[in-house]
């Protein structure tokens, strides 16, 4: 039993790394996606909506399989970790697109009118009036997206990324203790998620308007 711990810690680190990179990619794609969804141009709005429905409308596991196993057929060669980050990041981006868009459209129209009537442009209004308020509103729901995404990193075990779930499975063969192995993995996930949750709650408190 003792000798599996270093492997679990290593695996936990891979899970954390996957989570962090996926979050960053998801946030970037979320910003792009939300901008497209709210664009003045119908084509961009359509592309944004298509992105969201495709990636929220299919299982993340299928998306990962297409990218990792199907990718080479169309000339995309990725190692398992890269495919994991990119696949999960694109998936998370679709959810974050909707979260960000939701927070932006939740801002009272009166705010926009007040800014526009003093002569501020659409861009200035967005930057100095809408976004500062929307960003505060989106912290918690983005936290929910990140929570779901951390749990979804378990899926990349299926494309053999040596993260927590894969490691637990791997040691069942030598230890014959599936209960303990999955329990350890579960606990480590819980710790990662707990710390992330605390960080989100802290950010949310800090951003609150007095």
């Amino acid at each position: 039993m003792q000798k599996v711990f270093p492997f679990f810690l290593e695996a936990a680190w891979i899970t954390v790394l996957l989570s962090v990179l996926t979050t960053i990619l998801g946030l970037i794609l979320g910003i792009i996606g939300a901008s497209a969804r709210l664009s003045r141009f119908a084509l961009l709005r359509f592309l944004g909506a298509a992105y969201v429905s495709v990636f929220r409308g299919t299982p993340a596991l299928i998306q990962l399989f297409i990218l990792y196993f199907g990718g080479p057929q169309i000339g995309i060669q990725l190692d398992a970790f890269e495919a994991g980050v990119i696949g999960l990041g694109i998936n998370a981006g679709a959810y974050m697109t909707e979260t960000m868009r939701g927070a932006i459209i939740a801002i009272d129209k009166g705010q926009i009118e007040a800014a526009r009537t003093v002569g501020m442009s659409r861009g200035l209004t967005m930057r100095y009036v809408v976004l500062p308020q929307a960003m505060r509103l989106m912290i918690r729901p983005l936290g929910v997206n990140i929570n779901a995404m951390i749990k979804a990193t378990a899926l990349v075990a299926a494309i053999s990324v040596v993260e927590l779930t894969y490691t637990a499975q791997r040691f069942i063969g030598s230890t014959y203790k599936p209960f303990e192995m999955f329990l350890i993995a579960g606990l480590l996930y819980m710790i990662i998620i707990y710390i992330t949750g605390q960080a989100v709650a802290w950010l949310d408190r800090k951003a609150r308007i007095t």
Partner: protein, 257 residues
């Protein structure tokens, strides 16, 4: 009326939402320094008319002019944006629900637009905020957030925010309707002060006594038309139209129209 060219000139204003005609050929000329009240029952089109002046609710027909500039010009998107952002700087607007920016302190609420649009320095902005807030009696709350203010205080800050752009005209859309009765007077006093300074104002209001005491002219609107207009003593004391009489009778009896 004098032969002077009107300052604000609304010509044949028409507005429809689908088949609903909200404004039916409205004409309104306001001279510089004049104060005009618009009264009328709910849904008569008062807000729509007021919001057409700065093109917040664009008309479907007719023209709006401020001095020698047409406000609702038909232009390609980019040019229209540049044009409207320019003319809106000259038209202050005060809303029923204040619409202060909750994430900014009172000071920044007042200085955001002047800083962005007029390129003033921080020191000039501070001076401007102090001047305008002093004018509305809100100087001591300069570092508060809107959520820390009463409704009347919020509305006074909103007026200061509009004044900070040094507008030529001020539009008020039921500025006191959302306030508790005891807070109405402090906002009315600020508006009276502006009247004494000869600010050109167009005021949509349900407060007849206030309209009577500060306005030069009153428009009574119903169902998208101006039914009657004239000096307040005539409209309030001696209206000719039955619709006006009916409205005033209900209103002065304390009923909502």
């Amino acid at each position: 009326m004098t032969d002077q060219k009107p300052f604000v000139d609304i010509r044949h204003a028409k507005k429809s939402y689908g088949t609903l005609e909200v404004l039916k050929d409205i004409n309104l000329q306001v001279q510089k320094g004049q104060i005009v009240a618009i009264i009328g029952p709910s849904g008569s089109g008062k807000s729509t008319l007021l919001r057409a002046i700065n093109d917040l609710d664009p008309l479907t027909g007719g023209e709006v002019w401020l001095e020698d500039k047409q406000i609702n010009k038909k232009l390609p998107h980019r040019q229209y944006e540049a044009h409207i952002n320019q003319v809106r700087q000259e038209i202050g607007m005060v809303f029923q629900h204040f619409n202060l920016f909750p994430h900014l302190r009172v000071r920044e609420n007042v200085t955001l637009a002047p800083k962005m649009l007029k390129g003033i320095t921080d020191a000039e902005a501070d001076k401007l905020a102090e001047e305008q807030l002093d004018k509305v009696g809100m100087l001591e709350r300069i570092d508060h957030y809107p959520s820390q203010l009463s409704g009347g205080q919020k509305q006074r800050v909103a007026i200061a925010r509009a004044l900070a752009m040094n507008p030529k005209v001020m539009l008020f859309d039921e500025a006191t309707s959302a306030l508790d009765p005891e807070l109405v007077e402090e906002v009315n006093l600020v508006m009276k002060k502006l009247a004494e300074e000869h600010m050109t104002m167009i005021i949509v209001t349900h407060e007849m006594s206030f309209a009577e005491s500060v306005c030069d002219r009153v428009l009574f609107m119903d169902q998208g038309v101006v039914v009657e207009e004239g000096p307040p003593e005539v409209i309030f004391r001696n209206p000719t139209s039955d619709r006006t009489k009916e409205f005033l009778r209900k209103h002065l009896a304390g009923q909502h129209p």
